[in-house]
Amino acid sequence: MKRRDFLKSTAVFVAGASVSVSALDFITPKELFAANPQLKWGFLVDTHKCVGCGFCVKACKTENDIPFEANVTRTWVERYVIKKDGDVVMDSPKGAREGFTTKLLDQNHSGMTLVPENEIAQAFFVPKLCNHCTTPACVQVCPVGATYQTADGAVLVDRTWCIGCGYCIMGCPYGVRFFHPVEHVADKCTFCYHRIKKGDNAACAQACPYGARQIGNLKDPNDPVAQALMNQRVGVLRDEYGTKPNVYYIGLNKEVR
């Protein structure tokens, strides 16, 4: 290769490379944040306050037309029993749509087990729902643009656009998505978008007699949820997945998956 050709091709390569790199970062997270600084929905769960009544599950199913008898639900409650020897026994019978009414733990095909009272070190309930992640894995895998994140941080599904391929159901690390038995599309918690956008409370949070569930605006420093995040020790589920969840838990144990 002649020196002239070498310099020429080097110049072309450098110019080309710099153009494509600058084309890649045309949207930065900071720009997105600045574009919509006033509203971001967040959810706070206090696991100490949850008594496992399951009224949240019932309210969610009624509010969002999820058939009560179908074995799918947008929100559910898990019971964790940690034994003194360190063993963890967990159950969530039918998503706790009828609450927890027995000491027996439903272990699916291995039947019901009873943990004797004197062996229990800790026992508590953990309500679960969609985390409305800041970087949602389920949205990234949607091949048709049917599921998306709104500017205020809610992750929704476009029912007319969803083709029902199920990628998002597989992609969610929290298992909150399911196939809607009537609509025949992927379905998930919407943070009760129709309620919160009118200034109402989410159906599950409204139904909770103990205030274990709260929804709020994380960008308003006077909001009770934002206050709790600033002043209390809160955790998120499966931080290691990098999805940046927006559902925060007070009193989260390492045993909770």
């Binding site: 949850c50 009224f55 009828e98 009414t101 000491k103 656009w161 159906a203």
Partner: protein, 156 residues
Amino acid sequence: MKNHVWRPLFVVIAIVIGILLFRAFYVPSDFGTHDQGYTFGYHRLSNEQEWKDYPAKYKGNDYCNECHDDKIEEVESAHHATIPCENCHGAAFDHPDDPEKLIIDRSRELCIRCHAKLTMPSSDRNDIPGIDPAQHNKGEECSECHNPHNPSLEDM
């Protein structure tokens, strides 16, 4: 150029034009990336409005209070004041127009959601007075003895 080059090229151009035409008609005009960028924001914008228009079924205690303020007052001083009306009385929907009457859930199963005694040492469930549903007046409706609006055992 020769015929055998032009002919398949025309076919390809026709297919591309066909796809573009189909896309122009089929994809809604508000379909795009919008605020959140390519990775998370690619969607049909009008769907946000469709979700906002979803009908609410639960109306909240304030709605009940518009007519049934006497009942709200009755329950307000009792332990059960924290339980929203609609948890037992059912979602209001468009009551009193549709449905005219709400069906009250008086079942044992509803009460034992909270009042079945469980051993939950790290949860507030432990502090709720509880019974063993298999032993305590089996088969009876709780409301035959206990007043749900004033569950105090002293006032029974």
